[in-house]
Amino acid sequence: MKLARYLLAAAVATASLAATADAQTRKVKIATEGAYAPWNFTNSQGKLEGFELDLGAELCKRAKFDCEFLAQDWDGIIPSLTAKKYDAIMAGMNITPKRMETLAFTQPYAGGPHGFMTLKSSPLAKLPTGNYNLSKDLASAEKAIDGLKDQFKGKVIGVQGSTTNSAFAEKYFKGVAEIREYKTTEQHDLDLAAGRIDAAVMAHTAATATIDGPNGKEMMIAGPAFRGGILGLGVAVGLRKDDADLKKAFDDAITAAIADGTIKTLTIKWFKIDLTPQS
């Protein structure tokens, strides 16, 4: 009988996924990964939580949408959207040129700095700090990067493959340091702890989460913070290209949420730093 109950539950769950309704308020199904704390994750009661869940609710209230968040494995998230299983993606997804070939993006709703994470005991821990925007002032950012190259000579840098971070490392540190690609950030964190790499190029939010985590005691963020340019335009809502109405509604809602400080409040709540996108 237990089997039957499981099957029934599975059928109900999938049936509700397939159901469509056209009420006067538009129903919007938002896909998220549910495994990327603190952006979006699942608590031990199976409920979705995180920055994007809070923000999504805010945006939908403003746009007068009836929204539903659904967890979806990262690997299938873009094809599921184009196959119309979902209407939007809010899953810590950065705007990149590659993704823009298949998706439309709203304006970014969060954009944090990127930089280096290293061990406290490493010589790289004493890199000069700073704050650079590759979109606004590329010249001074590149000058700062050139200044770092001496310290990185012969070192090994870990990055997550196919990300803005790996593009940044390839562009500026190829030939200076050895660049090693990993499938997930967790993996380069473990190799940093094991001493196989000297530093990881990653989003500061991800670095902070690692440092606050159980294995992060020996780690720290070092060197300057970079944003913009090759590091991407920030995290945004991913949409189908032909869904112009949805893009306009989300864009307006994000503009309003930036203007009244909602995004600042929510990012401080979840990340302890302000990640309001800087245009």
Partner: protein, 261 residues
């Protein structure tokens, strides 16, 4: 956001504060997906093997094409084709019939059908091999007794083919069990309202996926990967160990009348 590390036993509590219940339910879901896929595969495999040995030119060709393609492409690709392609086809048909809108193929159906088709291709080869291993005199003797058609299959061919097939099928079952993790890409998740008797909550309301994705979700959500991946591995091992034992018993039972067993 969970702050600080929790101990293994804190993480693996049963109930709303821990993940053990989700992990156990996820193991159940994996088992159901695998079992459904495997049984569907037995049906597809049986049909394909019958077609291959039917002596009919066209049926033979169809069956060879099926086993060649489905054993030759990655399983994940088959799942993608069914889930995304299937929805596109069903929607196109729906639109032709006057319904405008999207019609989804449920993830459970697409996932188990894909696993069934892939494992069926392998199973058909095992079944064919078992059929060939059966002495042809058995069929001749049965025919001499006047058996034909379904009676022949039910009484003589079926039991003997299964006897030879059990070890090979056991092997495929282990593969299917692990393949079930691939259905995570179709977003298969179960929302369970739980079980209550009066005010006493026996099992609280929760949501879970298949075992591997559940471990990934819990790892990413708590930022403590090892406890979940180790538990996940242990649960998979428990499933495979149990099924190895069951298949061994089935094998002993199937061979009970044979010499040297």
């Amino acid at each position: 956001m969970p702050t600080g590390a929790k101990s293994y036993f804190e993480l693996m509590q049963w109930g709303p504060n821990g993940w053990l219940d989700e992990m156990v339910f996820a193991t159940g879901l994996t088992l159901i997906v695998a079992l459904t896929g495997f049984l569907l595969g037995l049906v597809f495999g049986g049909i394909a093997a019958a077609g291959r040995m039917s002596g009919h030119r066209l049926l033979e060709r169809v069956s060879i094409t099926y086993t060649t393609i489905l054993r030759g492409v990655p399983d994940l690709l088959v799942i993608y084709l069914f889930y995304f392609g299937g929805s596109a086809i069903v929607t196109a048909i729906g639109n032709k019939l006057g319904y405008d809108g999207f019609i989804g193929v449920p993830g459970f159906v697409a996932g188990t059908l894909a696993i069934g088709l892939v494992s069926g291709a392998y199973q058909s080869e095992v079944i064919r091999g078992s059929f060939l291993a059966m002495p042809s005199g058995e069929i001749e003797a049965a025919r001499a007794f006047g058996m034909s058609g379904l009676t022949l299959v039910r009484r003589i061919v079926g039991p003997q083919v299964l006897r030879y097939a059990v070890p090979g099928l056991g092997n495929i079952w282990q593969l299917v069990l692990k393949e079930a993790a691939l259905v995570a890409v179709v977003g298969l998740a179960v929302h369970w309202a739980g079980i209550k008797i009066g005010d006493v909550v026996l099992i609280h309301e929760t949501r879970f996926s298949d075992l591997l994705r559940q471990a990934h979700v819990a790892a990413g959500s708590t930022r403590q990967p090892f406890p979940f991946y180790i538990t996940c591995a242990a649960f998979y091992l428990a499933l495979t160990t149990l099924s190895t034992w069951l298949f061994r018993r089935a094998e002993a039972w199937a061979r009970r009348g044979m010499r040297g067993s």
